[in-house]
Assembly symmetry: C2
Homo-oligomer: 156 residues x 2
């Protein structure tokens, strides 16, 4: 069962998402940094994600295209500041539908009681950008994507 939590304190620049997975953190880290793995779980349930680029090293670039059933496409890209297996990934994130708005995302993986706890912190350039992301329904998107990741991990 999902233990997803989304915390966004009013007036701050941050959203923090936590969730645990029934897998060792090496496996969870790999699911985030291996292009073939990401394509299997990233994005909303009724979409397909094409991983255009993903090079998880300082200065490496990433770009994902999320295709919905009706032919719509949403693309996202950024650069990796760090990828320290199996502990931490730090990268920038930009939705190409809102060019010039960038956030810094830090994902850490910790093992607790045989599970991996993921903590995903995003800090936005402004509180307005952060509030816009919340209003866009990101909570539903994150929940679906994390559920898909959970299902993917069960198959690996």
């Amino acid at each position: 069962m999902s233990d997803l939590k989304v915390v966004a304190d009013p007036g701050t620049h941050e959203i923090v998402i936590t969730r645990s997975f029934d897998a060792p953190r090496e496996q969870v880290f790999k699911a985030f940094t291996d292009p073939q793995a990401v394509a299997r779980w990233w994005g909303l349930r009724d979409t397909e994600t094409v991983v255009d680029e993903l090079e998880a090293r300082p200065g490496g670039r990433w770009r994902f295209v999320e295709r919905s059933g009706n032919g719509g496409e949403d693309a996202f890209h950024g650069v990796y500041h760090d990828a320290v297996a199996p502990e931490r990934i730090v990268y920038t994130f930009e939705y190409e539908g809102m060019p010039g708005h960038v956030l810094l995302e830090t994902i850490t993986f910790e093992e607790q009681d045989g599970r991996t706890v993921m903590t995903d912190s995003s800090v936005f350039q402004s509180v307005a950008d952060r509030d816009g992301m919340l209003a866009s329904g990101m909570e539903t998107g994150a929940a679906q994507s994390m559920d898909r990741l959970d299902e993917y991990l069960a198959t690996t």
Copy 2:
């Protein structure tokens, strides 16, 4: 005369520095993105900065080493998310003395009344990191570095 302003609203993740320069924005943008130029003004007045890497393009890396007169060294590095001449630079920033603590810095350049107004926004991974940067004396450092940039621009 310096019109430097540093704004850090309590409880937020952000520091915003603004300052104007008596130069066209192409020239100010170049001072931030050309390795030889950066070495001439970046850092405290009594230090010398060695630009180890600076490639201002998405995924490009940067690393600066600031040497003080007594032989001390402080190093900083990050990756560029964007560098859009002469308007905007977006990059990550990590002080190697505090590894794992990263911020996202966005610098924009606008021309107003024949001067260039720089707006430099930094968002930190936590409010505590932001407050730590303020406590470290960054305001004095920014003032000195911006004065040095002003003097450098007058020579180009």
